[in-house]
């Protein structure tokens, strides 16, 4: 079939074996691709109880059937593996240009197995694939590695690499592609580092074959035109200011995490907002492959102690390294963002771990002498220095590199880690955005805003506004949204365009436009019901992996700060997150037991009983 390349690359780093495998078309249709295909292979081939940094774990990179096409935002790839941070399955998603290049090289995915004894990189030049030595690259930053790899292979090639943090197994190390795009979450970079794989370099020259070229072109144009019409007369905030503009909404609703989630509003919010970034440091905007939005930011700090240039910050970074640490110095948090990109670290977990350490110092649970320096709220210089130390596992960075939960547990206060399943929260306090609380707790990868991104309907009115503080009505919406977001990730699309233009603009966001695109691309003749079922299948397959790894309701949890301590001030004052009540309803709607285990009937309905 078209859309898919129908081919998987399998590389074993222990044996050096490289194989091209045919991809079964029925499996491709059932799991769509991308995130879905990744979880299919993880369930089929990887023991869910394995050591994430051991030889048994696999690192899977997949693209979707729309990746590398001219579908608006068909730019994404996914990294799927067992996470060393959470012990759960993870799927970390990134755009840029590497994913389209991988697709054009003729692959739906790469399955990386085993472990090399010496550092290596993978050079994929279309059909020709080599494992080459990367000894000379070990210790280099992501930017240096990208430059060197392209100069010794093909200047037009695209790269996906780790920095020193991945090499040193920082548990929230990222994999960076095209220098500054991040598969950021859950420590996928540490899995790559454990395999001694410094990078994947790819050059692809094929065009993605489409089942109905003309129809695909017309359908893509229809939805692009709808976007252009909106953008025609008015500034589009995401294009003008990037994702950092989101703090306008989180601050106004009192859910902008501040002081390690002790508060929901930040006095210095305007100093670190998207508008401030545009005014002070923006050099130019940047778009991923086939993206009409261009939310990327090339920025420059021209002088001062935080001088530098690079990409970012995104909204999540302005929360984690900014408000959560009480840092209102935009230059400092931008500099820390650059360091995260170059060393290969997830900015969310980095900032969250520093905020947690700051609170432990404030409460007297952690001595500054242990850290080797002062660490007070709002100290941008300390935040930058600790980011550097973490990426290199120097000094107190050794402790921070284990993530906020392990660090807080070490000092006797695990309740101060703002995590679910060990992964740090995104930038929305669940007390004032109840759907987000349910989303964090039930996200298969640990806390994430990208599994049914409730801020769209809770804070932004997309497609319509639902009261963020209400909780009774959230479970059915989150079930629907989580399943449709699985389709975005499986198809290879970016959430930002898809949630507004590629789903019906009702609260049930039925993916009719995506179905049109997928059918024109693949010829698979999905019905709307089949496509929605595929999204549900992907989400349940991930849950099944987690259940096999020992996860259940006890892990679908939030810290007591969120469920027991009322928000002290701001618009969400007096609220806690009603997680337990929402979970009961949520499991029922999912067809899971009250302990969060998918029922036999549901698994059979989804064709997942083969994995039980």
């Amino acid at each position: 079939m078209c859309g898919w390349t129908n081919r998987i690359l399998r590389v074993n780093l222990t044996t050096g074996n490289i194989a091209h495998e045919k991809q079964d078309t029925n499996i491709a249709k059932d799991f769509i691709g991308g995130r879905g295909l990744g979880v299919y292979y993880m369930l089929s081939e990887v023991d869910p109880t394995c050591d994430p940094l051991g030889v048994e774990n696999k690192l899977i990179m997949t693209v979707g059937p729309l990746t590398g096409t001219r579908a608006p935002t068909g730019a994404r790839y996914m990294v799927i593996t067992k996470s060393p941070l959470t012990g759960a399955l993870t799927c970390s998603n990134s755009g840029g240009f590497f994913p389209a290049e991988l697709k054009k090289a003729g692959y739906d995915g790469i399955i990386i197995e085993g472990k090399a004894t010496e550092p290596v990189f993978l050079w994929i030049n279309g059909d020709e694939v080599e494992i080459r030595s990367a000894k000379h690259l070990w210790g280099k930053t992501t930017h240096e590695t990208d430059d060197l790899l392209r100069s010794e292979t093909d200047p037009k090639a695209r790269t996906s690499v780790i920095g020193p943090a991945g090499e040193k197994l920082v548990l929230f190390a990222s994999i960076m592609n095209d220098k500054d795009r991040a598969a950021g979450r859950s420590g996928v970079g540490a899995v790559m580092g454990a395999k001694k794989l410094k990078g994947v370099v790819v050059r692809g020259k094929n065009r993605v074959l489409l089942a109905d070229e003309e129809k695909f072109k017309q359908t893509s144009k229809k939805y692009l035109d709808a976007f252009r019409e909106v953008k025609k007369d008015k500034p589009y905030p995401l294009s003008v200011h990037g994702t950092a503009i989101t703090s306008v909404a989180t601050q106004a609703n009192g859910v902008f995490p501040t002081r390690n989630f002790q508060h929901g509003t930040f006095d210095g919010w305007e100093s670190i907002s998207g508008e401030a970034l545009t005014e002070k440091y923006l050099v130019k905007t940047k778009a991923c492959y086939s993206c009409p939005i261009g939310c990327g930011r090339l920025t420059k700090i021209p002088d001062g102690p935080f001088k530098g240039e690079g990409e970012g910050p995104e909204y999540e970074t302005t929360y984690s390294l900014g408000s959560d640490c009480c840092v209102d110095d935009l230059a400092a948090l931008t500099k820390a963002n650059y360091l995260c990109n170059e060393l290969g670290i997830d900015t969310i977990s980095m900032g969250s771990a520093i905020a947690c350490a700051m609170e432990m110092v404030e409460k007297g649970y952690l001595e500054e002498s242990e850290i080797g320096r002062s660490l007070q709220w709002g100290d941008g210089e300390a935040m930058v220095e600790l980011t550097r130390q973490t990426g290199l596992r120097n000094g107190f960075g050794e402790i921070l590199a284990e993530g906020s939960l392990r660090m807080a547990t070490r000092y006797g206060h695990p309740e101060l880690a703002m995590v679910s399943k060990g992964q740090d929260f995104a930038g929305y306090d669940p007390r004032g955005a109840q759907g987000m609380g349910l989303g964090y707790a039930t996200s298969p990868i640990g806390a994430s805003h990208m599994r049914g991104d409730s801020p769209y309907f809770e804070l932004l009115g997309v497609p319509l506004k639902i009261d963020p503080q209400s909780w009774h009505n959230k479970p059915p919406i989150m079930v629907k949204w989580q399943d449709v977001f699985s389709i975005f990730d499986a198809a290879g699309l970016c959430v930002f365009f898809s949630v507004r233009y590629l789903v019906e603009q009702t609260i049930n966001i039925r993916p009719l436009p995506i179905m049109e695109l997928l059918n024109a691309a693949t010829g698979a003749d999905y019905t709307l019901e089949e496509l929605e079922k595929a999204g549900e299948r992907v989400f349940n397959a991930e849950r099944l992996f987690l259940v096999k790894a020992g996860f259940s309701r006890k892990d679908d949890s939030l810290p007591p700060r969120i469920t027991e301590e009322p928000m002290p001030d701001g618009p969400a004052k007096g609220l806690v997150c009603h997680l337990d009540e929402m979970l009961d309803h949520y499991y029922q709607l999912r067809g899971w037991s009250n302990d969060g285990i998918p029922g036999a009937e549901k698994l059979s309905e989804l064709g997942l009983d083969q994995f039980v």
Binding site: P237, L238, D453, P455, L459, D467, P468, S470
Partner: protein, 78 residues
Amino acid sequence: MKISVRLLVHLRQYCPENTIDTFDVSCNKGAIVSSFLKLLNIPASEQTVILVNGRHSEKDTKLSDGDLVTIYPPVAGG
């Protein structure tokens, strides 16, 4: 009664001149959000999210003297 209004991002262009953060608008007692919005200079074509004292509002949410109405465009998540 008097209502404070805060417009954010590009909606600031609809503030009265010299507005720093908020501006006050007088309206009849018992005004609701939809009738209050007609007193502002925001074209109907603008997409907006409207909060009253930082909390969710509906078209028929009643306003009280001293309320703060915050209006922002649907900025994106990320």
